[in-house]
């Protein structure tokens, strides 16, 4: 039998990074394949190679037994490879039908569009997907799940025999996911080869037949059957070791009064009735899946989204933080964003320009006068302590490695001497050594009396670092778990909270 898609010994390097190293993958018609790996393991690079966005340095992509050289997404489509990207790729004001048929609206630029034909064709695909909506409706009026299905329809309508889905369930509810899975199963039964990328292992075990795991740009396993594997095996392949049982002893509960407390907090972003408290010296974990509203909560605390009801207390006093500037300069609250490139750092500027940004206002002399050495005096001890490796403090930060960038984005808050530090997904895109270092650092910060709010989707990290874990889902707090570093117990308790109300 000829495999629908074969990726054979592909390698790909970017300046300074070897993203893929001799990676292989096999997709067969009629089966659903899971592509797994931690952030930065090379999944997205592999998808980009299969869809013609990147060209591999070495290795081949083979479709139906023939070697193909895909120079752009169009050629990938012509080769029968369809893809549903993580970000929405629809034209919001166009109708469903037009979106599905976008590349086939007419033969040439000046041909008139035959809308009857387009609608008939699109309706056919909507039927196949069990989607009962008028295909003349603009996609901007659809729910996220419906848009997701429209994108799948669009990919399928191109006669795709291979369909890649990059985290299709990230923003779906459990019921919507169920509908999606039914469709995917149906497609597989019709002979389509599907590749499913997801962070949610439960889903993978629910619908996938085979699995490929990437770790650090290499195959940790290649296209093996999921039968006989259990969750722990897959996790072990993903992180290269068993899920670590934490070595840190549980820390005594600090008895100080809470530094930050939310009481019945609700926000314009959609948070409802959120209550939590962080004490100085305590590390409060905030666990939840993507889309649970954790980063949004952090931004709400910083005053970047409006509070609609409830109370925010800083050091026991009800406060109304109006902006991130107020949060930092008046209340000593800092936020390490999960999106280092967009929200964490100014990549165009130097290490010094990035680490000093939080203290400029504080250390400037009269008339805002500020010399480099003043900033250096205030920040270099922190940079040294964090062992930021840079040829010079004037080096443009975009040139540093991910780990060093992350250290700088934490360092700027330490330099500012914040009393509460919110850390969002600290270990995205950094190496294991820096990750361990950051965990130690977070502990040290807490020991020195900083209140820490740690947001992470990385369960081992959460169990290893946090003292107490608040579980969020659907912009609400679902429960709280005291962390005794017993991975089995804690993770089961957390998952219990997440699924309990969804199932109902």
């Amino acid at each position: 039998m000829i495999e629908a898609l074969l990726v054979s010994h592909v390698s790909k390097s970017f300046p300074g990074v070897r993203a893929l190293d001799d990676v292989s993958l096999t997709l067969s018609a009629g089966s659903i394949h899971a592509l797994l790996g931690e952030n930065g393991a090379g999944k997205s690079t592999l998808i980009k190679i299969i869809t013609g966005i990147h060209k591999p340095d070495t290795g081949e992509v083979i479709v139906n037994g023939k070697v193909v050289h895909l120079a752009n997404p169009r050629q990938a489509g012509a080769a029968g490879i369809g893809v549903v990207h993580q970000e929405r790729n629809l034209i919001p004001r166009f109708s469903i039908a037009e979106n599905i048929m976008l590349e086939r609206l007419g033969r040439h630029d000046l041909s008139a569009i035959n809308y009857d034909q387009i609608h008939a064709e699109a309706t056919k695909w909507l039927k196949l997907l069990d989607l009962d909506i008028d295909c003349r409706m603009p996609v901007s009026r659809l729910s996220v799940a419906q848009m997701q299905l429209v994108e799948i329809g669009k990919a399928l309508s191109l006669q795709s025999r291979v369909l890649l889905l990059d985290e299709p369930t990230a923003s779906l509810t459990q019921n919507e996911s169920k509908v999606l899975f039914r469709v995917l199963r149906k497609l597989a039964d019709d002979g389509v080869a599907l590749c499913f990328v997801s962070h949610k292992l439960e889903e993978v075990f629910e619908i996938c037949d085979t699995v490929t795991v990437l770790r650090d740009g290499r195959n940790a396993c290649e296209s093996r059957s999921l039968k006989g594997l259990v969750r722990a095996d897959v996790v072990k392949m993903m992180i290269g070791r068993a899920e670590r049982i934490s070595q840190r002893a549980p820390r005594p509960k600090p008895d100080a009064a809470a530094y930050l407390e939310l009481k019945g907090y609700a926000s314009a972003a959609g948070h409802k009735n959120i209550s939590l408290a962080v004490r100085p010296g305590e590390i409060l974990g905030l666990y939840g899946l993507v889309g649970a509203g954790r980063s949004e909560l952090a931004k709400g605390i910083l005053g970047m989204t409006r509070r609609t009801s409830g109370e925010v207390l800083v050091a026991g006093r009800p406060t109304d933080i109006g902006s991130a500037a107020d949060a930092l300069h008046q209340h000593g609250v800092g936020y390490v964003s999960e999106d280092r490139k967009q929200e964490g750092l100014i990549l165009l500027h130097s290490v010094l320009g990035n680490v000093g940004i939080t203290v400029w206002r504080k250390i400037a002399a009269s008339f805002g006068f500020l010399r480099d050495y003043t900033v250096i005096d205030h920040t270099s001890p922190v940079l040294r302590k964090l062992e930021v490796k840079t040829p010079s403090i004037h080096q443009v930060i975009g040139n540093l490695s991910g780990g060093n960038q992350q250290k700088v984005s934490v360092a700027k808050w330490i330099a500012a001497g914040v009393k509460l530090l919110i850390i969002d997904e600290p270990s995205v895109g950094i190496d294991i050594k820096t990750k361990a270092y950051l965990h130690d650092l977070i502990h040290e910060l807490a020991e020195n009396g900083t209140a820490v709010l740690l947001i992470t989707s990385d369960m081992p990290e959460m169990v290893d670092v946090a003292d107490r874990i608040v579980v969020m889902a659907g912009f609400e707090v679902r429960g709280e778990v005291e962390n005794d570093r017993n991975y089995e117990r804690v993770s089961r308790a957390i998952m219990g909270y997440i699924h309990e109300r969804k199932a109902a």
């Binding site: 400029w360 403090i393 004037h394 443009v396």
Partner: protein, 344 residues
């Protein structure tokens, strides 16, 4: 990497002297290329065109460089934010006319009139900035509208009449030259360049402007009040545009409503040409203050040379357009280089 390596590198992290080597910095800077081009152009024109190096010619070229530098700096101050201000010309003319009114009609003394006119320009910039920040609409369309409004109000109030009876010191400053050839307007622009450089390098405000321009979201989260900073950038633009308007008033000895063309559109080209040639990134976050001066210098030297070569004045306009095209293509190449080196 061994632990000692780690400590070594961090200990060796150079604090003061550790910038890129001088040669490297020179080679990468757009200023270096401009200085070369200027030297080349001057050498060429000086050797082939006899009138080029006459004191009067040098004086007039310098004077125009001074004015164009100021116009370029005005636009640069808002390009920092990644936005732009189509109304620089309108603000410049309005401020110059306000100055003329203050002098001629209100009888305000000169030493009061100048700062008032500059503050007036800053005020118009504030209006732009506040609307842009509040509405969240791109500065292009807002300043397109304000350009029409400012200019319309000015013409309506002035009835398109110039103010010609200004204190003699005004024209005197425009005619002043040092050593017989260096225009006072040029020297003044250089001083403003120095002040702006200091602003961007040595003050908290300037640094916040650059940070907010390079990445507004990151800056906001890091405690920079990006809204206020952007408004400050627009105010700076307004003040510099007003200064440029006053400089033209000094050159001609009168505040004329048509000094920047219909709606002040005539300033748009020099306003973008100088900073872009100088190496200011159009996407924001990086300025080139002296580069803007060098850009204005290059443009005016070539323009003067071409005029002396009897290339028609009108064709020079087309040439300036081509020059802008060349400048942005170079900017693009530089941007790509920066990207490849991971700086963006």
């Amino acid at each position: 990497m061994t632990p000692s390596d780690v400590t070594n590198t961090s200990d060796a992290m150079p604090i003061a002297a550790g910038r890129q080597s001088l040669v490297q910095r020179l080679a990468y800077s757009s200023e270096f290329g401009l200085v070369l081009l200027i030297a080349l152009a001057v050498a060429l024109f000086a050797s082939t065109l006899p009138g080029f190096t006459s004191p009067f010619s040098l004086f007039t070229i310098g004077r125009q460089i001074g004015i164009d530098t100021m116009i370029g700096l005005a636009m640069m101050a808002v390009i920092v934010t990644g936005g732009l201000d189509l109304s620089v010309g309108a603000i410049g003319v309005c401020s110059a006319m306000a100055f003329g009114w203050l002098m001629e009609r209100a009888g305000v003394p000169l030493y009061m009139g100048i700062p008032l006119a500059v503050m007036f320009g800053a005020g118009l910039g504030f209006v732009n900035g506040a609307v842009v920040v509040r509405s969240g609409v791109h500065s292009f369309i807002i300043t397109l509208a304000s350009m029409s409004i400012f200019f319309g109000i000015m013409i309506f109030l002035s009835q398109a009449q110039a103010f010609r009876t200004l204190p003699p010191e005004v024209l005197g400053f425009g005619k002043m030259r040092f050593g017989g050839l260096v225009s006072a307007l040029l020297v003044f622009s250089l001083i403003v360049c120095a002040v702006l450089s200091a602003l961007y390098r040595f003050t908290s405000l300037g640094r916040q402007m650059l940070a907010a321009g390079a990445n507004p979201r990151a800056a906001e989260i890091s405690g920079v009040r990006t809204g206020r900073i952007f408004i400050a950038c627009h105010m700076l633009t307004g003040a510099l545009a007003a200064t440029a308007g006053l400089m033209i008033t000094a050159r001609t000895g009168a505040a004329v409503p048509s000094m920047a063309g219909h709606l002040g559109q005539d300033w748009l080209l020099p306003a973008f040409l100088a900073p872009v040639l100088g190496g200011t990134l159009l996407s924001g976050g990086r300025v080139a203050v002296f580069g803007t001066f060098l850009g204005a210098a290059l443009v005016n030297i070539i323009t003067s040379g071409l005029l002396l070569m009897r290339v028609g004045e009108f064709w020079i306009q087309a040439f300036l357009g081509l020059m802008l095209l060349a400048a942005v293509l170079t900017d693009r190449a530089r941007h790509k280089l920066l990207q490849r080196r991971g700086m963006i």
